[in-house]
C-alpha cells in the first residue's frame, strides 16, 4: 500500500441504500473516497472512462467495487462479467452487496469470479456491522493489488 487510501466504487440503484453505506462509512471513519454510480451502464462508463467519466482525473481507478446485482440498464452480473473479462480491470476485488440470497445468484456470482458475496441484512445494526467489517477486512487487512 502506498498510503493513499483506495477509491471505493459503489454501484447501487437505490439512493437510500447508497446513503446508508455512505453514512456508515462516515460513522466508522473509513477514509476512502466513495464514488456512487446508480446503474450498471454508469458503472461501466466509469470503469471504461467513457461518457461523463471521460477524464481520467474524474474517474480514479477503484481499489474495491461494491456491486448490487439487480441494476437498471446493465445487470449487476453483466457488469461483473465484463470487469472480470477485462485484463485491465479484472484484478479489482468485487464484493457483491445485494438483498438477494437466492442460491442461483450466489452460484452465478462466484462462477463469474466475484471475490465475495454479501447479503444486506434487514437489521440496521447487522448492516452497520457488515459495513464495518468490510472496512476492516477489505480496506485495512486485505492486501489489494496495486492499481494504476
Amino acid at each position: 500500500m502506498d498510503g493513499k487510501p483506495v477509491v471505493i466504487l459503489l454501484v447501487e440503484d437505490d439512493p437510500a441504500h447508497a446513503e446508508i453505506v455512505k453514512r456508515n462509512f462516515e460513522t466508522f471513519q473509513v477514509a476512502n473516497r466513495l464514488i456512487h454510480v446508480a446503474d450498471g451502464q454508469e458503472a461501466l462508463d466509469y470503469l471504461h472512462r467513457e461518457g461523463s467519466y471521460g477524464a481520467p482525473e474524474a474517474s480514479p481507478r477503484p481499489g474495491l467495487i461494491l456491486l448490487d446485482l439487480r441494476l437498471p440498464k446493465v445487470d449487476g452480473l453483466d457488469v461483473l462479467k465484463i470487469v472480470k473479462d477485462d485484463p485491465s480491470l479484472q484484478s479489482i476485488p468485487i464484493i457483491i452487496l445485494t438483498t438477494s440470497d437466492a442460491e442461483s445468484d450466489i452460484a452465478r456470482a462466484y462462477s463469474c469470479k466475484a471475490n465475495s458475496y454479501l447479503v444486506k441484512p434487514v437489521d440496521f445494526y447487522k448492516f452497520a456491522d457488515l459495513l464495518k467489517t468490510i472496512g476492516y477486512y477489505w480496506l485495512a487487512w486485505n492486501q489489494n493489488p496495486h492499481l494504476n
Binding site: 437510500a16 441504500h17 446508508i20 437498471p72 438477494s100 445468484d105 440496521f124 448492516f127
Partner: protein, 720 residues
Amino acid sequence: MNTPPPSLMIETLTGVTRDAFQRRNAVTSLLTGALAVAVGTIVTAGWFFDSAALKSPLAGQVPMKANTALCFILTGLALMLSSRAFSPTNIRIAQFCSLLAGLVGLVTLGEYVFGWDTGIDQILLSASSDAPSTLHPGRMAPDTALCFILLTIGLELTFRAQKTTAIFLSTTILASLMTAVALAATASHLMNLIGAFGLLGIMPMALPSALLFIFMGMACILISWPPGISIWSFHGRSAAACAIWTFVLAASLVWSLHREERFALQTAAAFARANISKDISFRKWATSHGGVYVRSNVDTPPNPYLQHPARDVLTTSGVKLTLMNPAYILRELQQNFGDEYGTRSRITSLTPLNPINSADAWQAKALKSFVQGAKELQEVQNLNGRLYLRIMQPFIVESGCLKCHAGQGYLLGDVRGGIDSSVLLDNYLAPGREHGTLLALSHSGIWVIGLLGLGFSYRRESLLNAETEQATKVLKDYNAELERLNYALSHELRSPLVTVKSFLEFLTQDLATGDGERIAKDIGYMHTATDKMTQLLDQLVMISRIGRVVNPPVSVTFSELVGDVLDRLAERIAEQEAEIEVDQCAIEFYGDRPRLTEIWHHLLDNALTFRGEHPLRIRIGVALENSIPRFYVSDNGCGVDPRYHEKIFGLFDKLNAKNKGTGLGLALVKRIVELYNGAITVESEGLGHGCCFRFTLPGALKGNETGTDKEKREWMVNRL
C-alpha cells in the same frame, strides 16, 4: 437477471443432431442409389451382350428385364442426386428421373390391365433378344411396375426439404407396401413355388429386383424420418404400426393366394394322375393281350419298330390287320384323342425303340430321378406363355413288356420309361383367380380400413399430445415466472425494508443531535421506501389476479375501453398537458373488461411518466396488418434505448434508477396480451425519440373467440 436462455442450448443440440441426421440421410441415399445404378448397369450390359449371367445377377431363373434395369438406374440416380445438399437443380433432375421410372411402371401396368401395346417394352432392346418363354417379351413384371409407381411417389415425397411427420407416415406406408410386394416375390422365388403370382399366370419380378426394392423402400423410410423422432416415440410407433399392418395384410394375402393355388394345383395333379393311370391301364390291357390287331390304314400303318413274326396278317376275308404293340396303341391314343381328356400325355424313355418317344430335357431329368427311386415328378412350366402342370410317372418293366423290350436288356422291375402328362393350368386356376381377385379386393379393403383406423387414432393421439405439450409449456412458463417472482420478491421487498430499518435508526440518532435537515432527509427516504412497498404490493396483487380472478367476458368496443382509460387518467393528462389523439374504429372485443383496460392504462401511464421536454403528444389507435388488427400507443416522449426493447417487459426490470415505478407495469401488460394469444413489441429509435408499443389481441376480438382459446384460458386459470 440474465439467465442464459435454456432454449438456446436446445437449439444448438438440435443443430448438432440435425447435422448428423443430414449426413446419415446423404450416406443412405448415396449408397442405396449407387447400388441400384450398379445393378441396373450390370443387367443392361447383360442384355446388350446377351449374357445370361449378367441378366440375372443372383443366378435366379428369371432374368431382370432391360426396362426394369433402366428404371433402377433412373431411380438410383434420383436417390444419389438427392443425397447432395438440396440444390434446386439437383432436386429437379432427381424428380425428373424418378418420375420417368414411375411413368414406365404406370404404362407397363396399363399394358397388363388394359391390354395396350405402347411399345414401351422394347425401349431398350428388340423383342428377339428376350427369352421366348415370356408372353410379353421385354415387359417388366406387373409387380415390378407397381413397385416402381410406389417408389416414384415415395421418392417424390422424400425429396421435399421439409420433413414433416405426415410425409414420413405416407412414405412409410408406400415403402412398406412396396417392400411387402417385393418380399412376396422373394418368398415365391426362395420357396421355389410359382407363388401367389401363378394365379395371375405371370412370373413374379426377378430376385435382384425384389431385393433392390426392399433396400430402396428402407432407404425412403430412413430419409423421410424427421430429425429428433425416435422409433419409440409416438410418431415412430405410428409409422411402425402402419408398416406392420401392411406386412401382416400382405402376408395374409400371399398365404391365401398360395393356398388357392395349391388347391388348383392339387386338382390339376389329381387329374393328371388319373390320366396317367388310365394310360397305364390301357397299356397293361394291351400288354396282357400281347398287343391288339387292328385294321391297318394310312393313319395306322404297321409299326416299323415292332419286331414280331406275325406283325401283319391277312384275314380270310382279305382284311389287312397289323399288330399294335402297347406303346403304339398308347401313342396313337395320346396323339389323336388327348384333347378329349383335357390333357396331353406322352410316353417316353431314355432308350426308346421309336425315336419319336425320346425324352426332352425335363423328361430325361425325371426319368433319371425314377432310376434313383423317385415315384413321381411334377413341375409347373411356362410353355409359350401358358402355364402347364407336368407330372411324370415311371413305367416299371413287367413280364409282358419283355416280349418286345427283352432285347434291350431290361429286367423285371426296371424303369422302362415314363408317362408325362401336361395339364393346362388355366382351367384349374380360373376359380382360384376368381377367389384370388376377391381375396385381393377384401384384403385391400381391410388394409385401407385398418390404415384409416390407425389414422384416426393417430390424429386423436396427436391432438392430445399437442394439448399436453401446450399445457406443459404453459406450466413451465408459469413455473419459471413464479421462480422469478419469488426471487424478485425476496429482493424487491427486502430492499425498502432495509431502508426503513436503517433510516429509523439514523432518525433516532439525528433526533438526539437535533439535526433538522438530516431528520427531514431520513423521513423522506422512509417515505419513498414505504411508498414503493405499497405500490409493489398493489401491482403484485394485480399481476397475480390475471390468472386467478376472471371477470365474466363481456362485449366492449375499442372506443369504450380507451374512454375508460382516458377518464381514469384525466387528472394526470391535464397535469402533463398531453395532447391525446384516439383513432375511431369499430372493433369490438369480447373478454374481461377490467383486464383489457389495464393494457391501455399502463401504456398511457408510461407515456405520461416518461415524457420529454417538448409538449407531449400521444396517439392511441389500431392498424390492420394482414387483416389482423394491431393496436398501438405511441408518444413523443423520452423513448427506449433499442438495447432494452426486450428487457422492459421483464418483471421488476426498470431502466431508470430514478423512476419511481416498480418495474411491474409492462410485465403486467405483456401477461394480459399473452393471455389473449397476442404479442407486444416496442419500437423506438432511442432516447429522446419517443416510442410506440404495438400489440395484438386475437383472443379478445369478438367472433374470434374460439372454443379452444376459451378452454385454454380457463384451463390456465384453473391450474394457477
